[in-house]
């Protein structure tokens, strides 16, 4: 259906034009993934995490600044894993630095006071493990729901400005595409720290997903 090199590369329509059932299906996938993944986090953080309904969005690679609404320089900890197998895509976990600090205070309490300017190797290692578990829980729940076999790569990690993280992902993994489909899960903790879980299925997988769920295009 979509070929690289076409004028209208990937998802030639906007979210408004997207089939409602497809959009709901993607939201459901986001819910299922997050539901499973946050179980472990709630236990660790011992507070209530507020899950919003996932947003289905198209990220235009040239409009990342707009997408981020002035937050390009926010420092975030990001973990990225590739999903390969019956469906392919990328999972990108983006954690505000404040939230990462909160998590570290719970899992490595003896490290107080935490140096808020940079993390130690031990701290990065601990958060990396957590991200690994979180991404793994998310993906396995989604894979089970869709009844597909997938592998998850070890996460690549980056602690830096949000704009640079997103633009680098777009450029390194999606340079052929004008628009990237994002299932955007947003979580807020009690202290109003937040993180995003982006699930980015590629178009071939998008079609496969809809096929698996028995939702075809008209």
């Amino acid at each position: 259906m979509y070929n690289k090199g076409d004028d209208d590369v990937s998802f030639g329509y906007s979210v408004e034009e997207m089939n409602e059932m497809h959009k709901s299906a993607l939201q459901e996938i986001g819910n299922i993934g997050m539901g499973n993944a946050t179980k472990s986090l709630t236990f660790i953080l011992d507070n209530n995490l507020k899950l919003d309904i996932p947003l289905v969005q198209f990220l235009e690679t040239d409009s990342i600044s707009e997408f981020l609404g002035g937050k390009e320089e926010y420092v975030v900890l990001s973990a990225l894993s590739s999903i390969t197998g019956e469906i392919n895509g990328t999972v990108l976990l983006i954690i505000r630095k404040g939230f990462a600090v909160e998590i570290l205070q719970k899992i490595l309490p003896e490290d107080n006071p935490l140096d808020e300017t940079s993390f130690t190797e031990m701290q990065i290692s601990a958060i990396n493990e957590l991200c690994n578990i979180f991404i793994g829980s998310y993906t396995s729940a989604v894979a089970t729901f869709l009844d597909v076999d997938v592998k998850i790569s070890l996460p690549y990690v980056c602690i830096d400005m949000l704009g640079a993280v997103l633009s680098s992902v777009a450029v390194e993994l999606y340079s052929y595409y004008d628009k990237i489909l994002v299932v955007n899960n947003y979580i807020e903790s009690e202290t109003e720290n937040a993180f995003h879980m982006f699930y980015l299925p590629d178009e071939a997988s998008y079609e496969k997903i809809m096929l698996k769920l028995g939702i075809q295009n008209e």
Binding site: S65, S125, S167
Partner: protein, 169 residues
Amino acid sequence: MNNTITVNISDMKVAQNSDTLVTYALGSCIGICLYDQIKKIGALGHIMLPYAHNDEEAKKKKHRFADTCVPDMINEMIRLGCNKRSIVAKIAGGATMFKLVNSRNNNSANSDLNKIGAQNIVAVKEALKEYGIILLAEDTGSDYARTVFFDTDDGKITIKSCNRQTNII
């Protein structure tokens, strides 16, 4: 006078009158700064990728690619009265942002994920050379994001990064 003008991704702007051009959070992307020190006119282009794939891209998204952005920047500056021979360049960006943690065999540099930054640096330098623009300074590569401020009053570039001292080139 002394205004700050923002340049977004895949965008390019020209400035004068001691205005400052700024582009935020360069990762693998590169901020190309061209300056005519006599006319005190500067152009900042924020490119994402090294080469345009076809004529269509070259026309519609010329500021996204190093090979099409550089000549366009030069043309714009000439249009405003610059002499090409007075134009010099400074560049920043082209980082490899992502790392594998806890990996004994850290092949991050060779992974699929970290190619474009380095390619961008090569492509920008190639383009500058092709059009005869001298590269005066650079803050490129490594693994950190950069925000670039380009002062058209004196052509100085100020680079801000997390956990690092501000660098002025």
